[in-house]
Each structure stands twice: as structure tokens, then as C-alpha cells.
Subunit: 350 residues, 4 copies
């Protein structure tokens, strides 16, 4: 049975696998000092058009978030995030484990995005409060792009966020677990050089975009926390064989592979969307990326789950729930056909 449950169902892109094979027996130093990691770093600098950027590779997204947030924040500071942000909801308290509060703002427009005006109002209210020295200082802003709901910021929205952040001396951090799918979306005006310009730190996600594991943390202009390597080690996040991630990123960033497979996923997601649209279904929100959130009757969900894999997201009303169908770099036309048949069978057009 073909599954659309998430975007980490398969191993890695075959070019990544080939690169791992090709380099396998080359001796190289550990802890990221290998030439493959160096090559991947150079690629990222070129793509970001920032020669001074520093790059560190870690294994997974929660690890990257915990590490970046803990090292960028001062101990008396918390991270401002959307109420629905991954760091606030789905990281088992990894941020608090490292001592920091998530200052969760209700996502005004219910699309998982943080609005610059909301951040501005929150920070102003904080400093206006005569008791603010007894409170957690807003120390940085976290956004995910695409968001947890597959939505995207526009360049203008990010620019406004960046301006608000810098006005208040707060670094802007962008979680790019699915950045490849965000950059490859149609009609987006967000690019790597733009992120490099507007953010103070962001990560380019590998695990969900063609790699076996790995996320590339980028500090634009090389402004990174002191002794960051030691902090990585302290967080248990330093790979002895750093090459594993370096080789993968070097392969993903060769010849636009990362962007090409991103676009493939977007195209597959459009097919998914069309299938459900044609079945007359509604969507929880309008996602231009690889995750599609469909509202289905509970009974239909039950039926459909015998034919195709997907993920329950959240209850919608008494009779309906939101379910997620995710495409990825690995989604096949055959999979899409299976979905089409299953939907036709289980959700006959009324």
C-alpha cells in the first residue's frame, strides 16, 4: 500500500547514495573537518551569495532547533514563536529542557505564520510592562518556512519580520526543515540569498528533502555564537563521522538537485490536491507546498485508510477530521495513481 503519511518514508535520493558509495573508503578526519563537509559548506555559501557564512551540520530538526535557540539566546531570554510552531508543540519540551521558555503568540491568521505586527506589539507591550524584569525577555524570533501547515511567507512578510526583529535587537531564526519544498514552490519570491540577508540564522533541511539525515545550520555573515562547536558537542549533536552529512549535502547541492527534487514534490502535491478537489473535498488551508491538509468525513477516513497511507492531523468537527497527505522527492506517479483510484473508490463525487 502506497503511503503519503509523511515526507520521510524512503531513504535518500539515488545521487546521494551514489556519493556515499563513491566516497566511502576515502579516509577523512572526523567532527566535520573533512573535505566533503568543506565542499558542502562552499556550495551553501555560493547559493546564499555569502562568502562569510559559517555552516554547521547536525543530524535532525529538533536537534538543530534546540541547539540554535539555546546558543543564540541569553539565559534570561525566551524564543517568540507561533502557538502552532514546532518548537512549541512537537519537540517534547526540548527548548525548555535547555532552560528557555517558548513565548507563544497566537498565529493571528490561523495559517501557522507569525505576523511582524504581532511580534512588534508583543515586544512593545513587554518593555512597557513595569514588571518586565520579572518576566522572560523576548530574545529571538522563530519561524518555520514552510510552516507546520505547509504555508509560506512572502519575501515582504519576512522582510517585515526581519525589520521588527532587528529594531528590537532580536535575531530572526528560520526553521527550514522543509525549506527545499518552500524554495521550489510556484509563485514564491523567497530565495536562499534573501534568507541569508534577512535571517540571523536558519537551517536548510536535508532529512525531509532527499537525505538520509542532516540539516545545515547557516549563520549569515559568519556571526555565530562563541565556541559553537563545543556547544554542539555539549548538546550531544556532534557527529564523529561528520562526513555522512557533508557528503549528502554536497550531493544534494550539486547541479540544483535539491531544487529539482523540491519541485518534483510540489508537482506531486498539486496532483494530490487536484484529486481531492475533484472529489469535492475542502482543504484545511491553502498550502502551496508538499503537505496537503484535507478535511474528510470520519467514515471516509476509515475507508480510505485501507487503500492508501496518510496521517491523521486533528479533529475538525464531530463528523470530520483533518488528514495530511505529504508528497516528497520520492513520490512516484504510480503512487499518485493508487491515490486517485482509492479516492474514487472511497469518496465518490456526490
Amino acid at each position: 500500500m502506497y503511503s503519503f503519511a509523511c515526507d520521510y518514508l524512503e531513504g535518500c535520493h539515488e545521487d546521494v547514495l551514489k556519493a556515499l558509495s563513491r566516497t566511502n573508503m576515502v579516509q577523512a578526519p572526523g567532527y566535520g573537518a573533512d573535505p566533503f563537509t568543506q565542499k558542502a559548506t562552499e556550495k551553501i555559501r555560493q547559493l546564499c551569495r555569502d562568502d562569510a557564512a559559517t555552516v554547521h551540520f547536525v543530524t535532525g530538526g529538533t536537534q538543530a532547533n534546540q541547539l540554535v535557540i539555546d546558543t543564540v539566546l541569553q539565559p534570561y531570554e525566551g524564543v517568540v514563536a507561533a502557538l502552532t510552531g514546532h518548537v512549541n508543540v512537537h519537540e517534547a519540551g526540548a527548548i525548555e529542557f535547555s532552560g528557555h521558555k517558548v513565548l507563544a503568540l497566537p498565529s493571528a491568521r490561523h495559517d501557522g505564520k507569525l505576523a511582524a505586527a504581532d511580534v512588534d506589539a508583543f515586544v512593545k507591550a513587554f518593555y512597557a510592562d513595569p514588571n518586565h524584569e520579572h518576566m522572560v525577555f523576548p530574545g529571538m524570533v522563530y519561524v518555520s518556512h514552510p510552516t507546520e501547515y505547509g504555508t509560506l511567507y512572502t519575501a515582504q512578510e519576512l522582510r517585515e519580520l526581519s525589520e521588527v526583529c532587528h529594531k528590537h535587537h532580536m535575531p530572526l531564526y528560520l526553521d527550514g526543515a522543509r525549506l527545499g519544498y518552500g524554495l521550489a514552490a510556484y509563485d514564491t519570491d523567497v530565495t536562499l540569498p534573501l534568507l541569508d540577508e534577512l535571517c540571523d540564522v536558519f537551517y536548510i533541511g536535508g532529512t525531509k528533502v532527499g537525505a538520509l539525515s542532516g540539516e545545515a545550520i547557516v549563520f549569515p555573515r559568519g556571526v555565530e555564537p562563541k565556541h559553537f562547536l563545543t556547544r554542539i558537542k555539549q548538546h550531544g549533536a556532534l557527529s564523529a563521522k561528520g562526513r555522512l552529512i557533508g557528503v549528502q549535502f554536497a550531493a544534494l547541492l550539486e547541479n540544483d538537485l535539491y531544487f529539482r527534487i523540491g519541485r518534483h514534490a510540489i508537482d506531486m502535491a498539486r496532483e494530490i490536491r487536484k484529486i481531492f478537489e475533484e472529489a469535492g473535498c475542502s482543504f484545511f488551508m491553502d498550502s502551496p507546498t508538499n503537505q496537503q491538509f484535507v478535511i474528510l468525513e470520519n467514515e471516509a477516513i476509515q475507508k480510505l485508510s485501507d487503500y492508501v497511507g496518510f496521517e491523521f492531523w486533528e479533529p475538525y468537527d464531530e463528523n470530520h477530521a483533518v488528514v495530511r497527505f505529504a508528497s516528497s522527492w520520492a513520490t512516484t506517479p504510480e503512487g499518485i495513481e493508487e491515490l486517485r483510484k482509492a479516492v474514487a473508490l472511497c469518496l465518490p463525487r456526490k
Copy 2:
């Protein structure tokens, strides 16, 4: 200028001071092993009608909250609290500093109280979520009584909360920073034996109710975290001269002093209330305890502040703000008269 800014403006009740003088040169062992602390403990057991209760004395409220929450929770758990709860807002991230998330529920009725039904719904939704193993487990419930807005739970409300907590195997913790003012309120049916029955841990506040410092943490039926003394020490909360707090609580709990001075503050608060009512003012909420939250015009606030002390609380609308007038065990009739005159002068009845 007389001040109503808070309830910790003076030192301690004269009987407390006398007890400190009387016992001053008696030699006694440190770290809470002294006979005064033992006597205070016995008093609390009697008042709670719980011979098995264990009691530990610490210096302040945030310290008590951090210590209790950190030691009662498992590391994968967070504490459920009202959005307006002290631990969520005004403790500078002390809970997160010790590694735990505050799971903040919007206080449905905007009175600073947590409703049993809201807690129940939250916990049910948590366990119904297929991803809950990636989330922070709700591990205990925190309520303050009186709340940060001076409101009180009824015995019935606390009983429902206790039942919901225990249904879900979560300890119920009650922050009694101002418990003396809660117990002494008119028309309350909440008593110490009731708290002992319904809560798994609570503290009886001293600092704001007649002591120089000190809060008494009570574990009903003696069910306390293992090696609690070592945890107190580890939190930097163990007093070498534990007698300082022991002597004070022994004095406060002698001859109902704690309840008598609590009632005095309530009576003074009623006077405050009457003064503002007669001036035609509205209240932010209906508080039966020692804190009164009055809505005043910004201009009137400015004027009044030349004659009497009070605390700015939060903006209300463009032209109004909420201000707090707190009475305490120490409030004098002369102080009330000063307030009456100041209000008459600055807020002439329209």
C-alpha cells in the same frame, strides 16, 4: 505618603518580631532541624487535621513554585496552569530554567481561574493526539488561591479540579502566596483541611501575610518527592538558619494570628472597595480578597499618584488603565483615611 502598592510593604507582625526576639539567643541546629520549625510543623498538621503531613519551609514564593514543580514533575512532564498564572508570567522563566514547560490554558472565565472542564478537555485531547509522545506530558496542575486577580475558587471548584487531576494521575498543586487572605475572606468555604484533602501539595504563604519571609510547603499525607531535602539544597533554597522561618510560622499560627490578620486585611480591602464604589468607579473584576483592581482614567491615575501609593497593573483602553490597591495585615485605618481623602480630591463624584 501612604501606600497600597502591594502587600509586602512593611516588615512583620509585632508578635512575629517578639517571637524572633524571645528565641534569638537559643542555640538550635541548622537546616530546619530546630525545635521552632518542629513546632510550626506540628501547628500546620493540627490546622490541616493531617498528622502525616510533611512540611518544608522556604524563603519565597517563586522559590517554592520552582522547587515544588521541578521535584513533583517527571522530566518529560510540564505543569498545566492558567495563562495568567504567576508561574507562566512573572517568575522570569524559573520553571523553564529547571527544565519544564508551563502548559498554559487560557483562563476561560477571565478571572485567573482554571476550570476543571478545561483541564479535562486539555488532557483528553493530549492523549487522543497520535503524536503525543512527541509532546510535553501534562504532569501536574498549578492553581493559585487567591489567584493573581484576587479571586477565589469555591470548595466545589477545587473538588472538581482535584477529581479531574486524580482521574488523570496528575498531582494538584496550590500556590498559597496569599492564602491567609483567601482563607479569611467572607463567604469562602475553602479551609486548610479541605486543601489538605484535595491537593497533593500546597504552600501557606508567609511573606505576604505577616512574616518577614517564608512559605510553608505542605505535602498532605506525607507523600513527598524522594530526598526532598537534597532537592531543596540543590535549588539553593535550604536555609542554614531554618529557625528564622520556623519561629515566624510558629508565631503566626499561634492563637489564630494568621487568620485574624487575614481578616483584618479583608476588612480593609472592603473599605478600599467602598471608597472607589462611592466614587463611581468600576472594578476590573470582583475580588473578595485583599487585592482590588480598579479601572481609572489615565489622568486620574496621574493625579492620584501624588497622594497615595498604588500599582499600575495593565492598560484597559485608550483612556483607562487597571490599577491595584492592596491591603494587608499592616494596613492602618489612618491609611484608609488618606486614601478616602485622596480619592475625594482626585475623583470627584460626577
Copy 3:
């Protein structure tokens, strides 16, 4: 039965108690913003001859140590201390609880003191180690004065430590839990202005030197961690009634009281020493301050404990143990007489 078990057996000096009485009903703002705290701060600045020094008052020694060390260190740093240092042994892991390692150096000369040369060698070896980025950086140095064994640094020793620290860009922190007894010792050349000159932070102990509670943390030249007040709150160490400690320190520092009662304790300790010397006993080490560590036969310890209070310190050999007799500001000549009789009875000169 008179006790010499420790130096926190009584309440506070009568002048401190009088000051508490005198100021008791004066209204004053909370959290250290009161005039008494301001006065105590000014006194400390004068005594240190440092107008720019900032001072913060907390309740106890472990609290002060945890707070200072956690706020002064970077997260990748640990604190260098003697193996026998209080922070390494007797604080229940309070330093590690806040995320930092104690880098314990064997105290070369077995007297509880840290030698500048040992610190220098340790730090040099650290930076010479090609793997040091995988290790905890030495970030500050902790010394106690008097040490846990009652010994004292000379001005020259402290100067050397200070030079080594600053050569390696490490702040020097001095734990002065018993500083009053150190400053009042005969033949010491260490003074408050000297500490202010050589240390980057130190605290003047109150709890063990005449106060009910309280330690004064001093940052010479006002160089203190950012948002220190918020950090105090976050550690649960901010007193609502900061006046309690402010009033006490203002009284202790008035008319040299702190130094006079320190000297009294030293004189009493000399009496203790003489009593045991005359009984032919040996001392574990030569202490010029208020703690005397005597080596006694286990049998004699047993006997003596029926007549006078003291503290078991550690086993010495099969038949002997080290016990501690501490004098304090409160030790009475009558107490000394009881000790004299008890020793005469239990340890007859052979």
C-alpha cells in the same frame, strides 16, 4: 548543653534585631528597591572604597554560589575550584543543576586552598590539549576565604591568583560565607578594598556572621552580568521583602559591628584552641579563624559528646577522627568554660 557544632546556632546580633524592630512598620518598596538596602549598599561601597561597585543581597550561601557562577559563566564553561571547595562537595550539585561542571583541582597543599601555579598549569594544559574544544572550558575560578578548613589566603596569594585568572581572562570569585571571621583574624593582610581590587565578584557573608540570613554579592567596579535582577528572580532568589536583608546588613556594617563581632569569634576560637592544646591534642590543620579542627580518639569523641556540642568532620585513622569546634559572634565566655570543664573531664592530660 552548650554547642560549638557550627556558627549558625543562634539568631542574630542584638543590634541587628533592634534595627529590624526600629524599621519594622516603615513602608518600603519590594525586591531590593528599599532605602535600607540602598544604605547597606552605600556602606559596602565605602568599606570597599569602590563607588561603582554594585551589590545584590540574597538569602544564603549556596544560593549565592549557584547564582553567581551560573550568571558569570558562559554555557560552555565550568568553574575551577579546589577539590574540597564547598561548591564541589556540599551543595548537592547546585552548580551542575544550573548546567555547569566544577573543574576540581586537588588542593596541592591539603589546606583547602587553591594555588595560583596550579590554576595556571591547569589552564595551560587545557589550551595545549588538541582536543580542548571537546572539553569544558575553564571559565572562572572559585575560592572560599576562609576556606572550608578555616585557612586564609594571604594578600600575596590572592594577588597571584588574580593575576593568573586575568591573564587567562577568567573572573575570580571569592565565597565569603565566613568573610567576617577572615577579615578579623590576627595577622591577615586581606581587606575589603583588596578583595574589591583583586576579585571580579565576591560575597560578604551575613548568615554566619551575625545576621538571621543574607549574603551581599559585590561586583567591583559595577561589572555585573546583564539583567542580573532577572537572573536572581529566575533562580528563585529574589526576596519580595528585600528589606529584611538590607536592614540587617546596614546594621552589621554600622560602627564596625561586622568586624568587632568577627574579632570576638576569633578570640573565642583561640580559647578553644588553647583548651585542646593544653589537653595535648593535635589539630588537623592550623586555622587562624573561627573553625578549629581537632583530632580526637573515637572513644574521647563519644565521651565528650555528652558534655558539649561539636561536629563530626571526617575519619582520621582507625582510632581517631577529626571534629570541628566553631566559635561565632555569639559564643559566650560561659560556653568556653563549659568546654574547658568537659575537656578536662574527658581528655585528661596524659
Copy 4:
């Protein structure tokens, strides 16, 4: 230039790579719920002869240590380890970062091993100390096997350690970063079923023994900390594509591959040893595993480093230093020949 600097210089064993290729496009659920991880778990259960063992796979050794120690310890406990233990020296404070102290015992016999008698004496002294409630409780024991110096425990030594641990109710944890090389040594009587019997938790190292990444944490008899998956997530250690490690371990444990490549490394290490013995060199200690610590003149080190890779370990005396030559599953006979020539050239037999 061929390198013996460490045992993580190459990628992974070719059979591991083949398994990754073979399974690459199979869809499988995330977070360790995939069939490959299940298969690896079953293999480990068989090899340990423990059907009830639970197994969790994480990426690296420091991560495994931090996770296991933090989750097994109570918050008032520390981990007993050799002074030279990896957790005490080379993990950048990862243990303290999670709030726990490393209780470091001098390794009596200077071979990196912890003696049961030393642990017993330490724990007895702890509980005999009247102040032990103010100290960090010894909560578990950490040993590495092979140790950081390549030495091995005998079955008898481990059995004694296990007995002492359990007598004192402390779990025994064995860090098996290089376990493959320990199990494959000649003359060892330590086996996986023995570890399963004697330890309460241990990990089987992959990263240094043929895998690209991955360590298998084993809880014998299924006694594991509650909600361990959530704790893994909270530590940032849960892999979305858990399959990456599952596939690798399934391959490594197929047909004794893990043991065969371990033996290969041991044989290569013996060759290394012979080369230096024949050159008349001394060894820092007698290592039966893949790491050989040779004492060389500083001048010879300089020379040799032009011909072959190795790692500087620590200074020995003014003219000598200890250097490490590590073999691994990947060491080639050609590499050994290069070393032989280099040694002949640079260290001519006197």
C-alpha cells in the same frame, strides 16, 4: 598518506552500504517504527539471549551517554565514573548540561578502569558521611569497555562491579562505543549475554565499528526509564529516519559481521604493536584492543608525522609523548605496510 589517527576515518563497511542501497526506496514509518529497526532489535535480543531486552538507536556516543545518564539518574543523583572516563573529560560537559554531576574516582590502577572495591568504598563513605544529604547521591556507575585507553575488564571484574552496584541499588551502565573491538579481542571472556546479565543498560557502538552512524542502547530485561521515546525526542536525539540506523545495525549483526570486522581490527592492531615493539618502543599501557598508545620521542613524532597519520595523545615527559595508533574494521594490509616503512625510516632500531 595512510592514517591511523582514529577509528572513524572511513565511511561504513560495504555490506552496510549494500543494505542501505537495497532498502533505500522501501517506504517505512519514521521514528524507529520501521521493520529494519525491528529486525536489528531482534538480532540484538538473540545475541544477548534476552527476549525482553528493549533497544533504542541513537546517532552518536556522547548523545547516548547524555541520554542514558540523564534518564536513568534521579535529579539528586550523579554518575560515578573513572577520572579518565569519556563522560568526565571529553563530552564538553554534556552530563552537567543535563543537570548531573560526574562523581569522578581516580582510576586506581591507571588503566582507565574502575575497580569494584573503589566504588564500594566511595559509596560507603558517602552514606557514612553525616552531611550526605547535602551532597550529590551516587546514582549509577559508568564504565567504558574498551576503556578510553583500550583496556578491557574481565568478566570477573565486571561481575564484581555489578554486584557492588546492585548492593547499593545503583544501575551499572557500560559505554560500548568500541564494544565490537572489545568483544573480538583475544583472551577476553566478556560476551554480549554477560553484559546483558550484569549491566542495567549498555550500548553497542556502531559509528566506530563499521557503521556510518548509530549506537544501539540496550535495556536488558526491558527495564527502561518511563516514556523513554519522549526523552529521546526531548534530547534532540530521535531520528525521523530511524531506518538509517536500523538498516545499518541489521546488516552489521547479520552473519557475525560485527564480530568478524572487530577481529580484523584486533589483528591489524597486533601488527601495529609488533612494528613498534620491533622498533624498541614502549607502550603507555598494554592494550588488547584496536587502540595502541605508543611512547615516542618528540623528535620522532615530528618525523613520523610526515609519513603516516596518527594522533597526539598527551605529553609523557620532557622529551617524549604518548601517541595513538588506531586500527579499525577498515584498516588495510597496505596501510600497515606504509606504517612499517615509515617506522623503519624514522625510528631506526638503536
